[in-house]
Symmetry: C2
Subunit: 454 residues, 2 copies
Amino acid sequence: MAMKPGIPKGTRDFSPVEMAKRNYIFDTIRGVYALYGFQQIDTPAMENLSTLMGKYGEEGDKLLFKILNSGNFLSGVDTADLNEANTPRLAARLCEKGLRYDLTVPFARYVVQHREELTMPFKRYQIQPVWRADRPQKGRYREFYQCDADVVGSDSLLNEVELMQIVDTVFDKFGVRVSIKLNNRKILTGIAEMIGAADKIVDLTVAIDKLDKIGLDKVNAELLACGIAPEALARLQPIICLSGTNREKLATMKKVLAGSEVGLKGIEECEFVLDTLAGLGLKNEMELDLTLARGLNYYTGCIFEVKALDVEIGSITGGGRYDNLTGIFGMPGVSGVGISFGADRIFDVLNQLNLYPQETVTGTELLFVNFGSAEAAYCLPLMAQARRAGVRCEIYPDNAKMKKQMSYANAKAIPFVAIVGENEMKEGKITLKNMVTGEQSLLTVAEMVNIIKK
Amino acid sequence: MAMKPGIPKGTRDFSPVEMAKRNYIFDTIRGVYALYGFQQIDTPAMENLSTLMGKYGEEGDKLLFKILNSGNFLSGVDTADLNEANTPRLAARLCEKGLRYDLTVPFARYVVQHREELTMPFKRYQIQPVWRADRPQKGRYREFYQCDADVVGSDSLLNEVELMQIVDTVFDKFGVRVSIKLNNRKILTGIAEMIGAADKIVDLTVAIDKLDKIGLDKVNAELLACGIAPEALARLQPIICLSGTNREKLATMKKVLAGSEVGLKGIEECEFVLDTLAGLGLKNEMELDLTLARGLNYYTGCIFEVKALDVEIGSITGGGRYDNLTGIFGMPGVSGVGISFGADRIFDVLNQLNLYPQETVTGTELLFVNFGSAEAAYCLPLMAQARRAGVRCEIYPDNAKMKKQMSYANAKAIPFVAIVGENEMKEGKITLKNMVTGEQSLLTVAEMVNIIKK
């Protein structure tokens, strides 16, 4: 036999069980997005490189998968380019399309391209694969799914509130306990004003994050070493040692940032979101967390991040508010707020905690054993009846040995097997075997359906 | 403003309404596949070119989208190749990956790669986009979805029967009346034996197809012109004029093909499939159709094709039995049978016949008008309650003019609007406006949910 064929590194096949799990995740997220009035769109896998290039930094440009022009791809290439071996310039001649790198840039492109048809505020979600020519490693793939929802064209904080409700509902449906962390870019800007430098905000959040591990003295020493002035450091102490309930934290912050208009605005925004959510009976904790500093160049208001409480895996969902989605395409003033569920990590979390509902992972619920053509002919109408009642069933297509048919049922983890031989045909019934308990009973189709669907 | 960004030719964005329709189609097909014990798999968008090349003929190779190698893509290229400008050879050096062209070759690759994990018979379905660098035209795209189901590892005709039941159930769920046409490669082989040349089978089926339009004499003249011998033509007359019920057609064919073992085998197979289906209460007609000659190089047994009865659009689903799925990857003996729903054409058929259920196209069911922060705060818990009851609802995020909020509801085709002002807050109720009838009533949340979900 020839060498086994393989797939490109960093890509994956999804087996039936993996797909059932992935479908469960996507269907759950889709359902919740829809409950909040978000509508799904889809954009093509290929975008023009002019849409993608320059949007993800120089590093990102290198990670784009580029598609060789069809036909005579050399037609636009001159020999000088070839001989110079300037790969970026040559790539631009050889390729005009690339695979999408994320869902944000295609969404921005979509909003600009279709702006006349869109009703603002526009609430869209999108669940599609993206491709990155990253070095593959554990948990990092070259093809993976993103599940983004955004509202654009509205500054209202009710949007932030809804997104937090969505996060809470989704993880509640999954049965995963999470902590939903909230911060605000404006609070960080306020703090930056205090310490005299925006670029020290990252050092500060990193240092605060270490407080539990290394203690206050070492944190302060680190901050001084980063170049934060002693007076600023003194004023920072309540922020570094910030603790208590969200309400207590906000009260402290208000005092510390009393001199910063933008800082106070950030606090007010968080306060509104937290107060509003407090009345809505979330199942998970919201936590104000100043160490949250994701997407600093992009986000301009609230920032969120979700961590699983019972699995060590990092952030499994995140998002925030941005001021300018479509400026890159020459359409200014489109602000919005979005979240993105990390499907691959959620997949791992549900696996580790064994939280997939049995129903969603079970494919076929009922296998009819095939004892020959007469028996099969008798079974087919019964199967049609069971299917009309929603039972997922199949008949083993060949009259193989019983043992082989039973191993098929076991391999597919089919929970019930129907045995129909001469006796059953005479009585007009079915012997149903529960593959877990081994129990067998002689039943009508209706009785059988009731047991399976119970 | 800068030039509007666009997307590569032959690709499409799917708007919310289009996506809702597409989801309805896919979810329906998924649901039916699952009822018959088929399980979904997913394969990566990118395959190694070694997997794809040479599988679709020379023309197909040209239509593959190839992906430029990452990093220094010139490293494997020597200047001789460049100067020669041999594009196929150069492409092979520049690219080792391509986008999948169909779902069959990736499925064959999957079966070979995972053969140790698979339980045969393996019933899989796959709903994914494929890419072809075809010249785009009306109804032909460079990115489109295929929805394939196959059973491999079983020769039983029960598989054919099940696939026909699936086709019947899917179109019944869609409310589309179809004709399911059945033929068999072996019957065609038998006929070819009769007329002395396998390559004349296509001429024959084309000619038979014209019988209604041009009449018997002209059909016969055409066949003689194709080089069919007069004696053969005489024996062919009952086939050309074949009519009546499936049973009558089979009886005629049995006589005509009495001398061909393979031909009789094909008739027997069709007879089994048709007889078995006759007892299963299909909603649509099955028709034995000798003009069906799709995939002659690939299919070896039953061939099917589905045509919509109320829309002129060509085949909307097709498939058949093949003997050798995985031989191209050095694993012989894997026979199977499959079908493929033509999602794009089904989309058009449902559009033309206006058959999308309102429920599936409706996004948000209920919009809460925003009269300000106090009213919004009052609405949010009511909305949480409505959502728990499955009502898809949203609040207009900004306190905009009533007119603007109502046009938003209209633009999104939201069927109900909830109006909550001072009065409603005092009474603990909601004024629900039916956007179609204009009717308004003062209701509790529970009453409102009942009306919306009715």
